[in-house]
C-alpha cells in the first residue's frame, strides 16, 4: 500500500504535531482502559468475596448494610443477633451449616473476626473455593488465632508468635487486652478478599475480651460478674456490640500488668474451659504474662491434639451469621421465616440478590465514570481533528503536487484519512502499553489499600470493543479533513497565495 507509506512519510515530516496528537490519544486511551479495568476488577472482587452462602442473617437493618458489614467489613452493624436466636435458627430443619461471625474488635487496624471452626470448613469465596492454609492450621482453643495472608505479610508475623487483640475498631486503641496474648497457629493463603485482611479468633476469645474486668487475670469462662463488669447486652438490644463496653473499667487496665500467677492457679479448679490445656501450652512456650509486645521469636506451633478447648464459650450475641441450606429451594421460605422471627427482629439476605441491588445503586456512578473517560477520549480525538485541519493548510502544496503527478482525488482522500487512522492506531497501541505499565505500578497499592486485585491479563472483549469504538471514531474524524482535501482543486494548491 503505497499510500500508507506515503502517509507515514508525510507524517514523519511533521513529527512534532503528530507526536503530540498521538500522545494525547494514548493518554486518553490509557485513562479509559484503566478506569474500566479498575471498575470491573472492583466489581468482580466484590462478587468473589462470598460464594456458596445461601443466607446472611443479622440484626434488622438494611440489606446492603448487612452485606457490607458482615462480609466486606465496610461500616459496622448497629446491632447484634442473640446467641439464643442463633442456636434456635441453626437447629431448624433444612439448615445444613451456619458460621457465626462476631466483628468489632481490631488488631493494629486489622479487623478481628470471632467465629468457630465451621468458618474454615464451610466458608467459600470466588467460585465456591474453600479457604486454604498457607501455613499452620485452624484454631482449636481460645488462645489461638488464624491470620489472613495480608495481615501476616504486613506485620511480619510468623507462626507461634503471640499477639494481643485490642478493643474496638481503629488503628490504635487505649484499651488493649494485654492479659490475653494469643498464639498465631495458622496463616491463610491469599484469597483476594477481605479475608486476607482479617484476624480470625475463636468466639470464646472475643467473649473473654469483652466480659473481663480488666484488673484481674483473664479467665476463660469466668462466671459472669454483676453489671458493671460485664455488659448486659442481652437486655440491651440497641447497643452496638463493637463499641463502648466496659470503658468504665478501662482505666484500671493499666494496673493489670503484674499478674499474679498464683492467683490464676487458684481460679483454675473452678473452671474447666480448656484451662488445663492452656497451661500445658504455657509450659511448652515459656512466655511471660502481661507483656505488651508479642514475642519476636517464632516457635513451633504445637500439635492440636492436646490443646482442644472450648471455641465458643458462652457468647450472648454475635454480629451476624452465614447459613447454608440443604437445598437452595428452601432459601426463600427460610429467609421469610427469619425475617418474621418472633423472638427478635432479624434480617436475612441472599448475598446474590443484595449484591445486584448494590450494583444497581452504583450503576449511576459507574456510568458517570464511563462518561468521563469517554469525554476525555472524544476531546483527544477532537484534538487530532484540529491538528489535521490545521496542517491541511500547510499541506495544500504537497497535495497539489501529488495531484499533478497523477493522484486522483480519491487517492488524496485515502491519504488524508489513512493518516488519521494511523495516528489513532498508534495512539491506541501506545495507550495500551501505558495502561499495562500503570497497572503494573498501581497493582500493589490497590491491593493493599483497597483490596482490589488487578491482574495483568489480556484485554477482555469489552476492552477490545472500546478500542474498536475509538478506532472507528478516529476514522470518522479523519474523513472530515480528507473530504476537504478531496475537493481542493489542483489549481488551489498550485497558485501562490499572497
Amino acid at each position: 500500500m503505497r499510500l500508507i507509506s506515503l502517509a507515514s512519510k508525510s507524517m514523519l515530516n511533521r513529527k512534532a504535531s503528530v507526536l503530540l496528537t498521538l500522545f494525547t490519544i494514548a493518554i486518553s486511551v490509557m485513562l479509559l482502559l484503566t478506569i474500566e479495568r479498575v471498575r470491573q476488577e472492583a466489581k468482580s472482587s466484590f462478587s468473589n468475596t462470598v460464594s456458596g452462602t445461601d443466607l446472611i442473617v443479622g440484626a434488622r437493618s438494611g440489606d446492603i448494610q448487612l452485606l457490607l458489614s458482615s462480609v466486606f467489613r465496610i461500616g459496622h452493624a448497629n446491632n447484634s443477633v442473640s446467641w439464643d436466636s442463633y442456636q434456635d435458627i441453626k437447629a431448624q430443619r433444612g439448615v445444613s451449616w451456619t458460621i457465626p461471625i462476631s466483628l468489632g474488635d481490631s488488631h493494629k487496624g486489622h479487623a478481628v473476626l470471632g467465629t468457630d471452626s465451621a468458618y474454615f470448613e464451610h466458608f467459600r469465596y470466588g467460585k465456591k473455593q474453600t479457604l486454604a492454609f498457607a501455613a499452620g492450621r485452624a484454631f482449636v482453643n481460645a488462645q489461638e488465632v488464624v491470620l489472613g495472608s495480608d495481615v501476616a505479610k504486613k506485620m511480619h508475623y510468623q507462626l507461634g508468635q503471640q499477639i494481643v487483640i485490642s478493643h474496638g475498631m481503629g488503628n490504635t486503641s487505649f484499651h488493649h487486652h494485654d492479659d490475653n496474648p494469643m498464639t498465631i497457629v495458622g496463616i491463610l493463603a491469599p484469597t483476594g478478599t477481605p479475608v486476607d485482611k482479617t484476624v480470625h479468633v475463636p468466639l470464646a476469645a472475643i467473649e473473654a475480651m469483652h466480659s473481663q474486668p480488666k484488673s484481674t487475670p483473664r479467665m476463660i469462662g469466668k462466671p459472669k460478674q454483676p453489671a458493671g463488669h460485664t455488659h448486659a447486652h442481652a437486655d440491651e438490644h440497641d447497643h452496638n456490640s463493637s463499641h463502648d463496653h466496659g470503658h468504665a473499667d478501662g482505666h484500671e487496665h493499666h494496673d493489670s500488668h503484674n499478674h499474679n500467677h498464683a492467683d490464676e492457679h487458684e481460679h483454675h479448679d473452678s473452671h474447666n474451659h480448656g484451662h488445663a490445656d492452656e497451661h500445658e501450652h504455657h509450659d511448652s512456650h515459656d512466655h511471660g504474662h502481661g507483656h505488651d509486645k508479642p514475642d519476636t521469636i517464632a516457635v513451633a506451633v504445637p500439635a492440636p491434639a492436646d490443646l482442644h478447648g472450648d471455641l465458643i464459650g458462652e457468647p450472648k450475641q454475635i454480629t451476624a451469621f452465614l447459613m447454608g441450606l440443604d437445598s437452595p429451594l428452601y432459601t426463600l421460605q427460610i429467609r421469610r421465616n427469619i425475617n418474621n422471627y418472633k423472638a427478635e427482629p432479624l434480617l436475612a439476605i441472599m448475598p446474590g440478590v443484595t449484591l445486584r441491588e448494590l450494583w444497581r445503586m452504583l450503576g449511576l456512578v459507574e456510568k458517570i465514570l464511563l462518561l468521563f473517560s469517554a469525554v476525555v477520549v472524544l476531546s483527544s480525538l477532537l484534538g487530532m481533528l484540529t491538528t489535521l485541519l490545521a496542517t491541511l493548510n500547510q499541506r495544500r502544496r504537497e497535495l497539489a503536487i501529488l495531484r499533478s503527478v497523477g493522484a486522483r482525488p480519491r487517492h488524496i482522500f485515502t491519504l488524508m484519512s489513512s493518516e488519521a487512522i494511523l495516528i489513532t492506531a498508534a495512539g491506541c497501541i501506545l495507550g495500551i502499553a501505558l495502561f499495562y505499565a500503570l497497572i503494573a505500578l498501581a497493582q500493589g497499592t490497590l491491593q493493599s489499600q483497597f483490596g482490589i486485585s488487578l491482574s495483568i491479563s489480556l484485554l477482555s472483549h469489552y476492552e477490545l470493543m472500546l478500542i474498536g469504538v475509538i478506532m472507528a471514531a478516529g476514522t470518522l474524524m479523519g474523513i472530515l479533513p480528507a473530504t476537504r482535501a478531496y475537493f481542493y482543486s489542483l489549481s488551489d494548491g498550485m497558485s501562490i497565495k499572497l
Binding site: F46, Q92, R93, K128, D326, L332, Q333, R335, G352, V353
Partner: protein, 151 residues
C-alpha cells in the same frame, strides 16, 4: 440478554408453572400458609409440606418462563439462580411452594441485566431428591439457553 444456540434436534417442550403441579393436586394458597403462624409452629422449610412434583418431567427438554433470583455468579454473569413464577419472590411476598421453584444452573452463566424482566429458560429438567431431615424433592434444571420472555 444472551441467546444461546440451541443444539438439540427436538425443540424443547414449552411448559408453564401449572405443569409443575401434579394433576388434581390442590396447592395450598401461599397467602394462607404465610399468614399468622406462631414462631414455634411454623414450618421453616416450606408452607406446603405436601407439594408433590411431576415425576414425568424428569429428563425432559423444556422451556419455562419466569423471574430470576440470583444465587451464584460473578460481576458479569449469573451461573446459578432460582426461577420463580412471579417477581418479588426474593423480596417481600410469600415465597412460592417448592414445586413452584426451579433451581437452575447454567454452565457459562448468563448476563441478567434486570431482575424485573421475565426470561424464558430452556434446558433439561431434573426431579431431584435430597436428604434433609425428611426426604425432599424439587425441580432442578441444567439450562442451555436463556432468552427474554416475549408475550
Amino acid at each position: 440478554m444472551l441467546f444461546c444456540v440451541q443444539a438439540q434436534a427436538a425443540p424443547p417442550k414449552e411448559i408453564f408453572w401449572d405443569d409443575l403441579i401434579p394433576k388434581g393436586h390442590v396447592q395450598i394458597s401461599n397467602q394462607d400458609a404465610a399468614a399468622s403462624h406462631d414462631g414455634d409452629q411454623q414450618n421453616w422449610v416450606q408452607p406446603d409440606l405436601d407439594a408433590p412434583v411431576v415425576k414425568s418431567l424428569d429428563g425432559k427438554q423444556v422451556s419455562l418462563p419466569g423471574f430470576v433470583v440470583p444465587l451464584e455468579g460473578d460481576s458479569e454473569v449469573i451461573t446459578e439462580f432460582l426461577l420463580v413464577p412471579y417477581f418479588g419472590a426474593c423480596i417481600h411476598v410469600p415465597p412460592p411452594p417448592p414445586n413452584q421453584i426451579v433451581h437452575v444452573k447454567i454452565k457459562n452463566g448468563v448476563p441478567i441485566d434486570s431482575l424485573y424482566d421475565a426470561i424464558t429458560v430452556t434446558g433439561t429438567m431434573k426431579v431431584a431428591t435430597w436428604k434433609g431431615d425428611l426426604a425432599q424433592t424439587g425441580y432442578k434444571m441444567d439450562a442451555v439457553g436463556v432468552a427474554p420472555f416475549e408475550l
